[in-house]
């Protein structure tokens, strides 16, 4: 029951947010008709364009019509390029999703062990070192980091290509190698932030009575460590889920630096062309991803936290 209500509320949020987004794209200072038809278009031509696309109707009516046609014809076609927005997204979305997934895995692989080590060695040198590094990681602007990484690892050392993603056809090895720098540019901030969170949880848990109980029973250190991890995980999962959603935002910036043909290119091109349906579709997809990852995090948390499960 909890699952159903949680999913329903996520859906409701998505509906409201998409309506908000829809309204924003209709509040533009410039009519799409003017953009498409140019400055010489007559008033009649403009009216005809708006009537054809239903732009003369009220905002709620337009939104209802837009939602109604979603299952049938998807996001429709772009006013500017005339191409199907769905096709465009089908090309660009997987690129970004792959980048974000690699980023996410990199983040987990970095943040969990670092946070654990820092928490378990509180106020000794590994902790101090990790804290300094994580402070730097959360303070560095990702796109600048990207420029530095390109300079060092691609231009100077030549280990990886400076821009673009090597297609999978050229071997998964080369493909993954080309993903490392952009993924790292995004991941560093999250490794810093999540390892700090993990460290704080571990320290809090180490001070709990049940850890003292475990020690008083002579439990192995590895077993005590497992006690700590199991309890530190639930809060970590919810923040990690949120981070996964946020990573799409950074991907927009980092893809630009690395010239990766993902959502970034779709969105930024749409912005320069004032292609409002395209902007709307891209942002909606990212927002849906964000809501979905939060939902997933909540569900996972429900599964691993016994107190929630039985509540």
């Amino acid at each position: 029951m909890w699952f159903a209500s949680r999913i329903l509320s996520s859906l409701a949020v998505l509906v409201v947010v998409s309506a908000l987004l829809f309204a924003l794209t209709r509040l533009t200072p410039l009519s799409p008709a003017r953009i498409v038809l140019g400055t010489d278009a007559t008033v009649e031509q403009i009216h005809e364009f708006e009537r054809d696309r239903g732009l003369d109707r009220s905002l709620p009516a337009q939104y209802a019509a837009w939602v109604a046609q979603l299952p049938r014809s998807g996001f429709g076609t772009s006013y500017i390029t005339g191409r199907s927005i769905d096709v465009e997204l089908r090309e660009s979305l997987p690129v970004t999703v792959e980048l974000v997934l690699v980023t996410f895995l990199l983040t987990l692989a970095g943040a969990i062990p670092l946070g654990l080590i820092a928490g378990l060695t509180e106020d000794r040198w590994p902790d101090h070192l990790i804290r300094v590094l994580s402070l730097m990681a959360v303070s560095v602007p990702g796109f600048w980091l990207a420029l530095i990484l390109i300079r060092v690892f691609a231009v100077r050392l030549g280990w990886v290509p400076p821009i673009g993603i090597t297609p999978l056809a050229e071997g998964w090895h080369a493909h993954l190698a080309s993903l490392v720098l952009p993924a790292l540019s995004i991941a560093l901030y999250y490794i810093g932030a999540l390892s700090r969170l993990m460290r704080a949880s571990v320290i809090e848990i180490l001070g709990q009575d049940y850890v003292r109980t475990a020690h008083s029973l002579g439990l192995r250190r590895s077993l005590v460590a497992r006690y700590v991890v199991k309890n530190a995980l639930p809060p970590f999962v919810s923040v990690a889920g949120m981070s996964f959603g946020y990573m799409f935002g950074w991907a927009i910036i980092i893809e630009l630096v690395f010239n990766i043909p993902g959502l970034s290119r779709a969105l930024l091109t749409a912005i320069t062309q004032r292609d409002y349906p395209m902007i709307q579709a891209t942002v909606l997809v990212v927002t849906a991803m964000f809501i979905l990852s939060n939902l997933a995090a909540d569900l996972i948390q429900q599964l691993i936290n016994p107190r929630l499960r039985h509540a």
Binding site: Q208, D209, Y210, R212, T213, A214, H215, S216, L217, G218, L219, R220, L223, Y227, K230, N231, N305, P306, R307, H310
Partner: protein, 316 residues
């Protein structure tokens, strides 16, 4: 008479380093024999819990033993390496803490935690450990152990959790069980049940019991010996009967008087508070003592008075 399971000789414990160091336990000497039940009684801050943690080697990073020695079954355990501590804890000494609500790991079932405790010394294997766990739950008076062992701590009542903690503590048959205010956080009716359980366990398994409490009534009910602590020192010790019938130290008398009884006016345990500055060499109880005299500017040591020991010049 058998050799004591635990003997503390002139044990002192301090927290902090250098000039910030503060000694909180001063020269505590006591013995507990197999099957015997010794109570340490005192108000909060008197050093009774610290004494217990010192025995467990659980003082943490800032605390350490600064004097005296601790012997467990004749073996000196005052300074042992961290690796030996694990052998000591659970197998030879176990401890039950005050708050059963927080002392169990919320993320694991109680069966799992009990099995972990069983398997951490002389691992009998998973299957044997699980059946052992259910037996233990039965022994501490938990009905339907099979179902209970699959439950999480938050599904159990406070009394039930304390029973589980007792089961975990005796899982590896320790020689000594330390119970630090095990009933303080529980309802009065449940308190009696837990105390009865501890008495049974001590008798059945011949476990020496060190019972820490501030509740004299509770202690009187089932402990053989009592040590009264004040400001890190034992000020009076002896058999329960001797202490209750003829308390010698004025602090003990005040403690006994502070227990409400029908038909007797209630008195405060002792005027004043623990926060006063300690003057070196002076009797610690001086500022609160109704019998204080010029003799008391010199700290008294424990000496035999009748059937027991008291640290007071005036305890004739």
């Amino acid at each position: 008479m058998t050799a004591p399971v635990l003997s503390l000789n002139d044990l002192s414990v301090a927290f902090g380093q250098g000039t910030a160091a503060r000694t909180v336990v001063h020269g505590v000497t006591l013995q507990v024999r197999a099957g015997e039940k010794l109570a340490i009684v005192g108000e909060s801050g008197s050093g009774k819990s610290v004494t217990a943690l010192a025995i467990m080697h659980l003082l943490g990073r800032s605390g350490r033993v600064v004097g005296g020695s601790m012997c467990l079954e004749g073996e000196d355990i005052t300074t042992i390496p961290e690796s030996a501590c694990r052998d000591l804890r659970g197998r030879r000494v176990a401890m039950i803490f005050q708050d059963p609500m927080t002392a169990l790991n919320p993320a694991f079932t109680i069966g799992r935690q009990l099995v972990d405790a069983i398997r951490s010394h002389d691992d009998p294997g998973s299957r044997a450990a699980w059946s052992e766990a259910e037996q233990l739950l039965g022994k501490v008076g938990i009905d339907d152990p099979g179902r209970r062992s699959a439950q999480y701590p938050h599904e159990l009542s406070g009394g039930m959790r304390q029973r589980v903690l007792i089961a975990m503590a005796i899982a590896c048959r320790p020689r000594l069980l330390i119970a630090d205010e095990p009933t303080t956080a529980l309802d009065v009716t449940v308190q009696a049940q837990v105390v009865a359980l501890l008495r049974d366990i001590s008798a059945t398994f011949g476990i020496a019991l060190l019972f820490i409490s501030h509740n004299l009534d509770l202690v009187a009910e089932f402990c053989d010996q009592i040590a009264v602590m004040y400001r890190g020192r034992i000020v009076e010790s002896g058999s329960t009967e001797a202490i209750f019938t003829s308390p010698r130290h004025p602090y003990t008398r005040l403690l006994l008087d502070s227990v409400p009884r029908p038909g007797r006016p209630l008195r405060a345990a002792a005027p004043g508070r623990l926060t006063g500055n300690r003057s070196e060499g002076v009797c610690d109880f001086l500022s609160r003592c109704p019998l204080a005299d010029t003799d008391c500017t010199l700290r008294p040591t424990l000496r035999g008075v009748g059937a027991h020991l008291s640290a007071c010049w005036r305890s004739a």
